[in-house]
């Protein structure tokens, strides 16, 4: 019996397995890193970085919803320089493949970050043009083809690492946006970021989040994410990191069948910090049972009607 190959290649970078942790849900890995070795993961997408330190939004910042949650963290982070200085060396020591997720309020911000990260040990750069929680989160860039084209092309000029563009689901036609990103230099795509949502506390009659609205994630959004991955996969030829509600190995297989080359786990960490490792093992066992030699055989293998 051959052990199935779990390694995947995303834009020239080899991930030991297709399980990534989603940006913003896993910090810089230090906390979950006390539970297991970060080298066990395919890659780690770190908390969204901005050029300068950002304090983030006022609390409350999280709210539970049916089979999901809202967050309005608002890109609290120490700034890209502090990340490079204080977090990245440690992450690389752990043996992690590191995806630097970057956000900004101007194209120049993005370019500056891409440039300075290009000289570091980060493995890939993820252009976050889809954070719904702050003006500076780039969602304005992520919702029209024109601005996606402009920002992707501009950052491409400064980025000497594989460039992932992270797409927003809060759009009419995600496939069109995906094609635009690829046409303008994206080496890979990740999707979906969170869907904009709101909860109102009927006792206080105020929103639960101090930001009024926040991003919806978790199993609730998985059918939307699977559909979007499937739509995008049909239209582009670059690798896709699929995310949105992946909590079990079954979910990961579903996402890969729809067209994801790798998957990311976010919200599911909170119920089970070991979810990424269980997913990895579950996928391996599934391949084994199905007599498949390589996890890539799953990618886009859904047989539609």
């Amino acid at each position: 019996m051959v052990v199935p190959n779990l390694a995947v290649n995303i834009a020239g970078v080899t991930l030991a397995n297709p399980v990534v942790t989603a940006s913003g849900t896993f910090g810089f890995g230090r906390e979950y890193g006390t539970l297991y070795s970060l080298a066990e993961l395919g890659a780690i997408a770190v908390k969204g970085l901005t050029l300068k330190e950002r304090p983030g939004n006022a609390p409350p910042r999280v709210a539970e919803t049916p089979a999901g949650m809202l967050n309005s963290v608002g890109l609290q982070n120490p700034g890209v320089d502090a990340f490079i200085r204080e977090e990245l060396p440690w992450l690389k020591e752990q043996g992690a493949v590191v995806i630097a997720n970057i956000a900004g309020s101007t194209i120049e911000d993005y370019c500056a970050m891409a440039e300075c990260l290009s000289d570091t040990a980060v493995d890939m750069i993820e252009l976050n043009i889809s954070c719904p929680n702050v003006k500076e989160g780039g969602v304005a860039f992520g919702t029209s083809c024109d601005s996606v084209a402009a920002i992707t092309a501009a950052v491409r000029g400064y980025c000497r690492k594989p460039l992932i563009v992270k797409l927003s689901p809060n759009v009419t036609d995600i496939a069109e946006i995906a094609v635009t990103a690829v046409d303008n230099g994206a080496d890979a795509l990740s999707l979906i970021n969170t869907l904009l949502g709101m909860r109102v506390d009927i006792q206080t009659r105020r929103p639960i989040l101090a930001n009024n609205v926040g991003g919806l994630s978790g199993p609730a959004v998985r059918p939307i994410a699977v559909r979007m991955v499937w739509q995008v996969h049909q239209r582009v030829n670059v690798p896709i990191i699929g995310m949105g509600g992946v909590a079990t190995w079954e979910d990961a297989v579903e996402m890969m069948l729809a067209g994801a080359n790798a998957i990311a786990v976010g919200t599911a960490l909170y119920l089970d910090p070991y979810a990424p490792l269980k997913i990895k093992q579950g996928v391996a066992d599934y391949l084994d049972r199905s007599g498949m030699a390589d996890v890539s055989e799953l990618v886009g293998a859904v047989q539609v009607y």
Binding site: E31, L35, P59, M69
Partner: protein
């Protein structure tokens, strides 16, 4: 930071009053290292987020926590029976720090904030004065536990149906008038904490407050549970209740 995610059996489950549950689990991994003021994150079935609950007491392999039913998560938890297996993450957070437990200290608790004070007051024995505030007499709980710990326990209710008719902070003022207090430790609703901090400042008594905030990860990764704090240089930043707290020095808290 050293926490585990573990499953453990529920060995005792009592309901001291309606909607209040007093659970003890056998959980050596957590019980043996828990310090007063720390909390656990309890999985509630398939609900997306674990619920933060203070450690009420830890003795040997046994871990005790007490919770009020507020919504879906605590309702699910309340239905667990002795022998059921719970899934718990912990111990988590920075608890109370004690300088000198041979000095008189005051513990101020309101509502569901009283539970972590039991574990905290124990080292002070008879030097502890425990001031407990409730809305009304029917909500009073844990009196005997605090008394058994050796503390001088005093009661206040909003409507006067038990103990002092008024705020628990009235009792705090009275206690400060009575004699020296080396430290104040408080947990409860925000207005109570704020008033406690003001009294502590007035009397120049070191004061530590245990705060609440909505949480997702409970370990410092998601940055969900922000609390604004003031630094010595006057700048303000967001700290995180789960990893920097839940216990903060009263002077750093920005209300």
């Amino acid at each position: 930071m050293s926490f585990t995610v573990t499953t453990c059996p529920l060995v005792e489950a009592r309901a001291p009053r309606a909607d209040l549950y007093d659970f003890t689990v056998c959980c050596p991994e957590i019980a043996r290292i828990a310090t007063p003021g720390q909390f656990i994150m309890v999985r509630c079935g398939e609900l997306t987020l674990r619920r933060p609950i203070s450690i009420c007491d830890a003795e040997g392999d046994l871990l005790r926590f007490v919770f009020e039913v507020r919504g879906a998560g605590t309702a699910w938890l309340a239905e667990r029976k002795v022998g059921d297996i719970l899934d718990i993450l912990g111990p988590q957070g920075n608890g109370f720090t004690f300088d000198d437990t041979s000095q008189p200290a005051v513990f101020v608790g309101g509502g569901i904030g009283i539970f972590p004070l039991l574990h905290a007051c124990k080292p002070f024995g008879t030097q502890a004065t425990v001031l407990l505030g409730f809305r009304s007499a029917d909500l009073v709980s844990m009196l005997e536990d605090f008394q058994a710990a050796g503390a001088d326990v005093r009661l206040a209710t909003d409507n006067g149906t038990a103990g002092h008719h008024g705020l628990v902070t009235d009792l705090l003022r009275a206690r400060c008038d009575e004699g020296p207090v080396s430290a104040i430790f408080a947990c409860g609703p925000k207005p109570m904490l704020r008033a406690t901090a003001a009294i502590a400042e007035e009397w120049e008594i070191p004061c530590q407050l245990s705060l609440e905030q909505r949480m997702a990860c409970g370990i410092g990764a998601c940055l969900g549970c922000a609390q604004k704090i003031r630094h010595p240089d006057g700048t303000e930043t967001y700290a995180h209740v789960c990893s920097d707290g839940p216990v903060f020095d009263a002077r750093v808290v920005v209300w």
